[in-house]
Symmetry: C2
Subunit: 403 residues, 2 copies
C-alpha cells in the first residue's frame, strides 16, 4: 500500500483525484500490485461539500510529517510556496511529482539534486506537453541517441490563436478574445502570447537533453503579438504556416542554442499540421532521425493522467532514484546567438531592387499586400539579419523560417 498526497486542488489536482479514484485497480496493477491510497489533499480553500472532505487539510505539515506518505503530487503551480514545500518533502525522503513547469525550469536543478541525494524521485512528465509522453521517452527510449535538435509547439493557447488566424482568417486580437472566451487563454495572456510559457518548457527539454541546466533567462524569447493576418496569408502562399516554436540545438562541444520564436513552417513538416490547442514536440536524434510526440498539451484530465503516471512510476521505484536529472553547468553552455543561421521571411515597403542590393540572393513571394516586397532570405545569423534589416527603409515583418 502506497500512500500519496495531492498539493493543490485546482483543475489538475481534481483531475488527479478523479483518476486515482476511478482507476484504482488498473493503477495498482501497473504499480506492481501496490495499491495507491490517497491520504491528504492540501488546499487553502474549503471543500466542505466534497465526498471525501476528511482528506483535505490546510496544513502542509500534515503531509510532511506523515511517515506513511511516500509520494506527493505538487500541482499547485507558481514558485512559492511550491518550491519550499517540494524541497522539504524531498529532504524528508518523499518522492514528488509535478506539473509545475515554472518550478521545474527555475529550481529543477536543485530539486533533482536533492532527490538524487535522498534516493527518491522528482518527476515532471506533466510539466511539458501536458498529457503527451515526452520526458520519459526522451530520457529512456532515446537513450541511445545524441539529441541534435528539439522543435516544439509547446503552448496550446498561442497555437489556438494562430490556428484561428490561419484557418478562419481572424485577426490576432479577435483570435485572442476568442481564446479567452473559450477558456484557452488567461485574462492576462502575457505568459502565453509573449512566449514565456513556451520558454520554460523548452528550457526543461533542453536541460534534459543536454544533461546541463539551460536557464530560461538565457533563451531569446519572442511571442506572437507581432504576427499579423497578412503574415499567415503570405505563409499560406508559400505552402507554409506560422507557428510559435520552442527551439533548441545541441552542439558536439556541449553548447546549446535555444530560442522561442514564431517560425514559418513548410506544410511538409509534421509540425505544420498541429492544430487547435494541441502540442507537438519534434526531437531529432543522431540514430533515430526525427520523432514527433503529439497530443493535448493542457487540460484537466490529460495533464492529470501524466501526473498519475508519474505517481505510479514513483511508487514502482520507491527504493531508488530513476536518475532523470541535469546538473548546473560549471561554465556558460549557451551557444552564441550568431552560431546558427536561419532564413527569414521579410516584408518591407522598400523596393525589390533595394532588397536584392541588401540581401543578395533571396526568394520573392507573390504580393498579397500592395506596394510591398515579400521575400525569404538566404540563411543568416541573427546579427547578419539585423544588420541587413536595418538597411531597409522599413520592416513590416521578419519571421524565421524553419530549416
Amino acid at each position: 500500500m502506497a500512500k500519496v498526497a495531492i498539493m493543490g486542488y485546482g483543475t489538475v489536482g481534481s483531475g488527479v483525484y478523479d483518476i486515482i479514484k476511478n482507476n484504482a485497480d488498473r493503477l495498482s496493477r501497473n504499480a506492481n500490485g501496490e495499491e495507491i491510497e490517497l491520504k491528504h489533499i492540501l488546499d487553502i480553500r474549503d471543500f466542505d461539500d466534497h465526498p471525501e472532505k476528511e482528506l483535505f487539510t490546510k496544513e502542509f505539515n500534515d503531509i510532511l510529517n506523515d511517515g506513511e506518505v511516500s509520494v506527493v503530487a505538487e500541482v499547485m503551480g507558481g514558485l512559492h510556496p511550491a518550491y519550499e514545500f517540494t524541497k522539504s518533502l524531498l529532504e524528508a525522503g518523499k518522492s514528488v511529482v509535478t506539473s509545475n513547469k515554472e518550478l521545474v525550469a527555475t529550481y529543477g536543478t536543485e530539486l533533482l539534486e536533492i532527490a538524487r541525494g535522498k534516493n527518491v524521485n522528482y518527476l515532471f512528465e506533466a510539466s511539458v506537453g501536458g498529457g503527451i509522453p515526452i520526458i520519459r521517452p526522451m530520457h529512456q527510449c532515446l537513450t541511445a541517441n545524441n539529441i541534435l535538435k528539439i522543435a516544439g509547439i509547446l503552448n496550446g493557447t498561442t497555437n489556438y490563436i494562430l490556428n484561428q488566424m490561419i484557418k478562419n482568417g481572424k485577426p490576432f486580437e479577435t483570435a485572442l478574445k476568442d481564446a479567452q472566451n473559450k477558456g484557452f487563454a488567461e485574462r492576462n495572456p502575457a505568459a502565453d502570447i509573449e512566449g514565456h510559457d513556451a520558454c520554460r518548457k523548452i528550457a526543461i527539454l533542453a536541460s534534459l537533453a543536454s544533461g546541463k541546466m539551460v536557464d530560461y533567462n538565457d533563451i531569446d524569447t519572442e511571442g506572437i503579438t507581432a504576427v499579423t493576418l497578412d503574415d499567415v496569408k503570405y505563409a499560406d502562399e508559400m505552402d507554409a504556416v506560422v507557428k510559435l516554436i520552442g527551439y533548441a540545438e545541441f552542439d558536439k562541444d556541449g553548447k546549446v542554442y535555444s530560442i522561442v520564436s514564431p517560425m514559418v513552417i513548410k506544410k511538409d513538416s509534421p509540425l505544420s499540421g498541429v492544430d487547435g490547442v494541441m502540442n507537438a514536440i519534434m526531437v531529432t536524434g543522431d540514430c533515430v532521425g526525427d520523432v514527433m510526440f503529439y497530443g493535448a498539451g493542457a487540460g484537466k484530465l490529460p495533464t492529470a493522467s501524466a501526473v498519475v503516471a508519474d505517481i505510479v512510476d514513483a511508487v514502482k521505484h520507491s527504493e531508488r532514484s530513476k536518475k532523470i536529472f541535469w546538473e548546473k553547468p560549471s561554465e556558460n553552455i549557451m551557444a552564441d546567438r550568431d552560431s546558427k543561421k536561419f532564413s527569414y521571411f521579410v516584408r518591407t515597403t522598400d523596393s525589390a531592387e533595394n532588397v536584392q542590393k541588401i540581401f543578395g540572393k533571396c526568394e520573392f513571394v507573390d504580393n498579397i499586400v500592395d506596394n510591398e516586397s515579400a521575400f525569404v532570405t538566404s540563411p543568416l545569423t541573427r546579427s547578419e539579419a539585423e544588420e541587413k534589416l536595418e538597411k531597409l527603409s522599413d520592416v513590416v515583418t521578419n519571421i524565421r523560417v524553419m530549416a
Copy 2:
C-alpha cells in the same frame, strides 16, 4: 559491467554494434553507471574482415552457456530458431531484447510469461514503429488511461507506395517498383502490401493495451493491392488521403475489435500528413485523448537505437522484471466483426438512383471517372456494407473511412 550479446549481424544487428561501440560513455551513464560490453555476436556467416572478428561465433551455446552475459539482443528475425534461442536464454535467466515483430506477435505471450517467471525482461520496443518510442510510452506514460483506440500507419513500405501514388500520381505497380528499386520493398513484397506486417504490429499493440494476447490470425487483414490511382484522386477530392491503417478498439467488457485495412483519412487528422516511409501511431486514452507518436518505422540506426534503449533498460532492471506483459485470454476476446460501424467510400458504375435506393442517405463525391457513382455511406457494420454492396451492379472500390 554488463556483458551483452547480439544474435544476427544483419542490418539491425550491425546498427546495434555501431551504437554500442560509438556511444559507450553515454550508454553507461544512462545505465546507472554500468558499463556495457559486447561479448559475442552470433551469425552463421563469416566476418573475417571485421575489426572485432573475435566476437563472432556460429555457436548459440557460446552465448547460452556464458554466465557473464546477462542481456542478449535477438535481431535475427524469423520464427525459428529465434524462438528456441530466446526461450533458452530467458529460461537461463538472461534478459532478451528484440526487434522481431513476427516472434513477439506469435510467441510473445509464452516468452513474456517465461521472462516474468525468471524475473528477467523480454523487451520489444523495436518490434513496432522501429525507432519510435511506443511500447514503453504506452505501458508507462499512459498507465493512468484506459486505452480506447489505436490507429497506426505501421508499415513504411506501403506508406511510401501510397505516398508516391498520392504525391506523384504514380500507379500502384510503378510505385511498388520504385519502392523495390529504393530498397524500401522486398523483391517479394507480399508481407508488406498484403498487410501482414502491419497486422503483426497492431496485434502486439492491441495485446499490450488490453493485457490479453490478441492473435494476429484473428485480425481481418486487407492490404493495399486493390487501391488505385483513381481512388487516391477521389480521396484528394474529399480533402483526404488513403493510408493503410492497423486499427484496434477496446471495449469496456474487455473485447477487442481489430482490423488492418486501407482507410480514407481526412486531412485534418495528424495521421494524414505522415509521408514517405514514416510511421505514426495514434493512441486514444480516456484521460489524455489522442496522442500520436511519429518517426522512422524501419531502417538500420532508428531500429537499432530502439534495441539499444531496451538493452540499457534491461541492464538497469537486471534484478527484476519490468512487468510489461500480456496473458493468454481464457476465452475469445475478439469482438464480433459487426460490432463496429464504418462509413465506406464506394465507387460503382451503377446509377446514383440505385445507390440511393440501396444505401439511403449517402454523400456523393464529384466524379473523377466518367460513368460511375462515387459516394460515402453512412456508418455500417461490415455485414450491412457487404449486403448492400452486393446489390450494386458492380463495385469498383470500397474503402473504409476513418471516423
